[in-house]
């Protein structure tokens, strides 16, 4: 249940998401998954490069400090 506070009236209610709201949330989840996958790929790429160079993330950080 979503909790809704109407600031004007002071009323607080609980209700289910509407179908339209659920559709928007589904689109959000898809966008979030896309971004997270993109960032996971970048992280993996970074780790692979560090492994190739034989450096830890801490050692690499020292290089650029």
């Amino acid at each position: 249940m979503i909790v809704v506070a109407n600031v004007e009236t002071g009323e607080v209610i609980e209700r289910e998401y509407t179908k339209a709201e659920l559709a928007v949330l589904k689109a959000d989840q898809e966008q979030i998954a896309l971004i997270e996958a993109e960032q996971a790929a970048k992280k993996a790429e970074k780790e692979a490069l560090l492994a190739k160079l034989g450096l830890t993330a801490e050692e690499a950080a020292i290089l650029f400090a």
Binding site: M1, V3, A5, V7, G10, V24, A27, D28, Q31, I35
Partner: protein, 235 residues
């Protein structure tokens, strides 16, 4: 004809005839009545304010309390799937959201994101700095591509009901009724994961000049939300 020094109200000359006294008093009274017209009216608690540089041009206005916080609404969520504030008045300068003792019903770093004015179009740009390993700050928009939501705001990574471990934080939405530019917000949140504390600090824009009238907090996954959310108007 003699006139008063400050307001120039017409008064009888010393040599005027007594028989014209009533008329003279009426003239003086009407002049005073006209000058004082703006002082009439107003309601309880209002303040008299100059309406222009013209003498005696006043208006009665309601002045908001200055420098204070007004609690607009409180939500005590208990295993909720979302939190929403609607019909937010435009009577304040800024909005301050404070959340206390917030936790989710599942482990693993999770967060709530925010939506303004129920706008789910690509109008949001946010950056979050955090040390929550499970996130890997993955809710940060690291590209310049606008998103459909204001990313991670409230985080928690465990399902403890211990208030000492739960998430506390705040968000400012600056000048939220200004319709001449985009909206700005910044936020911070912390929780104690047990062995380490996790923190996030974010800022972002909502690329729409409309005044903010609705705020939604939405879960990034299927976790339920428990905790207190307080919305303040700030003058």
């Amino acid at each position: 004809m003699a006139n008063t020094t400050n307001f120039g109200w017409e008064t009888p000359d010393d040599t005027d005839l007594v028989k014209d006294g009533a008329s003279a008093m009426r003239t003086l009274g009407n002049a005073i009545d006209t000058s004082m017209a703006d002082l009439k009216g107003g309601t309880t608690g209002q303040t008299l304010q100059k309406a222009s540089n013209t003498d005696m041009d006043f208006s009665w206005v309601s002045v908001s309390a200055s420098g204070g916080l007004t609690l607009l609404a409180t939500v005590n969520a208990a295993n909720a799937t979302g939190v929403q504030f609607t019909s937010i008045s435009g009577s304040y300068k800024h909005l301050l959201m404070i959340w206390e003792n917030v936790y989710f019903d599942s482990t693993g770093d999770k967060y709530l994101y925010m939506r303004l004015n129920n706008d789910s179009t690509s109008n949001y740009g946010t950056t979050v700095t955090c040390n929550a390993a499970g996130y890997d700050c993955s809710h940060t928009n690291t590209t310049s591509t606008p998103l459909n939501q204001y990313r991670g705001v409230i985080l928690s990574g465990h399902n403890s009901t211990n208030p000492l471990n739960n998430c506390y934080g705040n968000m400012w939405i600056y000048d939220y009724t200004n319709t001449t530019r985009v909206n700005y917000a910044w936020d911070s949140a912390s929780y104690d994961a047990g062995t380490t504390a996790k923190h996030s600090f974010g800022n972002g824009i909502y690329d729409n000049s409309a005044a903010i009238t609705q705020i939604d907090f939405i879960r990034n996954s299927t976790q339920t939300i428990t905790g207190t959310f307080k919305l303040y108007g700030v003058n």
